[in-house]
Symmetry: D2
């Protein structure tokens, strides 16, 4: 028996890249009320269909009466042709049999992303740049901004830039324009320091997840001028939180967070600059994980399968 | 359908604690050459036996010809009585059917641990203290030291302390005494800053894993006086590595590592003190994970299922 | 010219330890409205007095009209005998000449500390244990608790334990007892997870600084059950804040903060356990820095000279 | 007496920006054998000259016979006109009087930097991008590469790109070309993943500091394929070190280091990608600190005044 040495060990990403037919790599997300036998049912189904499991992660909030989540990445040669039969099998065994829901997401079908920005470029450019380096599995279909300032930077990447001014007293015209641009064209909206309120109406109509990045402190400093308030109490750590946007402003499920150490010799403006550096890293990780279907929402929290 | 809210979500540890019959919580470790159908076989087997999966993690170094590792924690009412039948099933389906190996580790059967120390108390006392607080699922059966200094501290915890002096020119007498004390009494040896060489003979005869904690730097400073050498080059981070001991001194599979930031105003003695603080944290995590069977060895590396 | 190699470089702590006459090592804290010439005045004064500067840190919130802070550690042979003359010099040059205030704190005169605790032992025992290891330059004069539970653990360290029950409807009796025990006997009160309200009356009468340790999140979760609330939103980092206690509960100047990463597989109880590990580290650092006079208060923030 | 509130507290950077005459902000670096009275001499000299101290940091490897380092940033109105007199004063008081050496570095006189790169763009583009955002106080005078690949990316920033192929059997032609381009035009060379050997001859002739960025592990994995070797031992942290280049390859004084956590599910290629993310952050910090004269070399180590 020859055992592959760990040097050859390949991560999910590398294995998918190595596949001869990229269209044959698929992510299967299963969720629902937990009950005995789910893992057995899913893995038996995949085995019978001839699929090869690359990675499998599952989590249950409580095996007795809790909620079950599973993410499986598999290879199945000729998946496109076999898909209808495969979906019938999922319906029969998982939906009818076990009351679960499922989603199939071929890895080659990249999520289409619109990025919203205002005047700050640090989060926007970091996403575009990481995308160009091949670090983010997505297609950036457009950048939308309420300011014209960043148009040239964005267009250098070959990405369309739409300038949509916002009237703060009546956001409806701008939102109609946003929806015209987005509908049918995106699977995800990323707010990369977009400094405008997102209304509940917009969220309901856009019908795709919206990720936001937000400065964070321990403890929180509510309202305007948070960096100045943080400075006033002598905070030693400042951070950033990436989360899904819900109607409760800045209260949606958290995807990722991180912090950086600061000191009394940093002015409020320095805190802000250091905060910007954390923001772009945290947002890039959240977008990467979302685009790889690693983030599952569970009420107002998230399950993240690394 | 009532969905348990995430507040009620319980970790593996909490779920095991909540079980009415603690003896019914079991960890199953499966490993071997990867091939299609393993996850289906294991989960179907558990389902048929009436077991309830609490957590399941699997990893394959390569789905085609690589090595497969799975850790499953499950509840099975009346496990003790059903164990013989269950083991027969594992042999039949996993060993004969798929060429795998398995181990069953009832959660209630705590690992018996011997801690070796010399004169430094920081790692030793931190382990004893965390153990007393209920943070480490193990039984400390003895402390062995080549110095008498720490006897009183250890005995206050109600743990036997054996003073075994070591003759550096001939370690065999001390090792014979060590083996007399250990054989049959321990499942793990932890070197908590034990400043004596561990010979290949001892490792072969003791027949249980040995975990060591070691200072670490980026880059490494080999040989005597590493803190002074690190200071001479102005290192900014110092760290610690917990690893399994193999005959290649300090070259065994790494379990956990961490670092702490230092500056030019720290003298070599301060680096050492800060290093000590990282050492005790890193060692405590490595011991906790080992005792929960979360660390699987793969040649000279480790798979860690958090 | 022989240059000492960096290996010999000694930190403030090591230099003080190396002094033949420990009573000759002194910390001088100077503060006041910033104006040109302060650093020159202080350093010239020290030079004329024959003192040898070990470390010197200064910070000004704004060189024009801001507030100035300086911490100098120096050696002066025979300091005790020379102290009256030295103080006269400080009054003349710094108070009369420049409108500043000063404090002299001989390093050998350890701060006397009372620790308050309730039922949780993690912060209390970590302080006592680090103190015993020589890591904290202080004298622990007493432990006060509203519960009898930890008496034996504390008395093993040779430290008196006073059990003072608290009547929540009228705290005045307990506070009178606290003040009787503390007055004249302590320079610092440390609340090591003391779960009782500290009143403004107590703070005014105790007349020494009070340090508290508090769980912290990004963002904050206000009120009861913060770990459950954090879990509900899927937080990825939990932390702790050590701060001086002011009448604004948990709103005083921050001394130190830190965080630890958590995941969806941690239950609220696990978050709490991990939080406890951060709490004890953050509190130990805050107490160490305070006892070395490294923490200067500036309104509701702190200047920390590392 | 009005005390400026901490909100108004400004960092060194902000204070310099706020000065009416930027040419009047100057950094003074003083070093030499430590002896009593240095701080007094420097601060008195500055006070007499009418300078206003913005920040002052000093460090001595040992007050008795050690080496002394001081960095002072000050404002002096009309500095350019007063410079000759000021330099005379420094010579008289510090050189003749105390045997020290000094350097004056006007803040407005940005360091001129040449960046060397090969095919990897992550460190190079991060520097150019941070520079464009105003985060790095330097002038990028040129980029030199042994490959033509990155020319277009660099020229978009308006920076000249020189393609200088290297003959590995005889580096002298390439080095002559490098020196022709560099001599008189740069104050610093940054190797941003430049994958060619730097010879001792080049270092001696270029006469400016050279900063390199290097992957780092705990412990080190020497030689080719370090990521594969790290993967084989199951490392949990990978890092990067920025250091000054000396003739001892990769053994020069360390400026900055950092690490990132990895797991068994990362392939060697993933470790490399995560390493790249740390490299660019560490290099950016090292370049920023060097350009602000915060990094003082002390034999083979560094003093860093944050």
């Amino acid at each position: 028996m020859t055992i592959t040495t760990p040097t050859d060990a390949q991560s999910e990403k590398r294995r998918i890249e190595a596949a001869k037919d990229p269209a044959s790599s698929v992510r299967l997300i299963v969720s629902g009320e937990d009950r005995p036998g789910i893992v057995a049912a899913v893995s038996t189904l995949l085995h019978e269909a001839g699929a090869n499991i690359i990675t499998l992660d599952q989590y249950s909030t409580d095996p007795e009466g809790g909620r079950f989540y599973q993410r499986t990445v598999f290879h199945l040669d000729g998946f496109s042709a076999k898909r209808p039969d495969f979906e019938r099998l999922l319906d029969e065994r998982l939906v009818k049999g076990l009351g679960l829901t499922w989603e199939l997401r071929p890895v080659a079908q990249l999520k289409r992303v619109a990025i919203f920005a205002s005047k700050s470029d640090h989060c926007l450019l970091d996403l575009l740049w990481r995308h160009r380096r091949g670090e983010l599995p997505m297609t950036v279909t457009m950048v939308i901004s309420n300011h014209p300032d960043l148009a040239e930077d964005v267009r250098q990447f070959g990405i369309p830039y739409f300038y949509v001014p916002v009237d703060k007293s009546d956001r409806s015209a701008a939102e109609r324009r946003h929806l015209e641009l987005l509908k049918g064209n995106v699977d995800l909206v990323v707010l990369a320091r977009y400094m405008q309120i997102i209304t509940g109406d917009f969220l309901r109509e856009v019908e795709v997840p919206v990720i936001n990045i937000h400065h964070s402190f321990l403890p929180a400093f509510i309202g305007a001028g948070p960096y100045a308030k943080a400075k006033e109490r002598g905070v030693k750590l400042i951070g950033a939180t990436a989360h899904y946007v819900t109607e409760d402003l800045d209260e949606g499920p958290i995807i990722e967070q991180d912090v950086v150490r600061v000191s009394h010799s940093d002015a409020a403006a320095d805190l802000q600059r250091r905060g910007a550096d954390v923001e772009r890293q945290v947002l890039a990780r959240a977008v990467e994980w979302h685009c790889e279907d690693r983030v599952l929402r569970n009420d107002n929290s998230t399950i993240i399968f690394h």
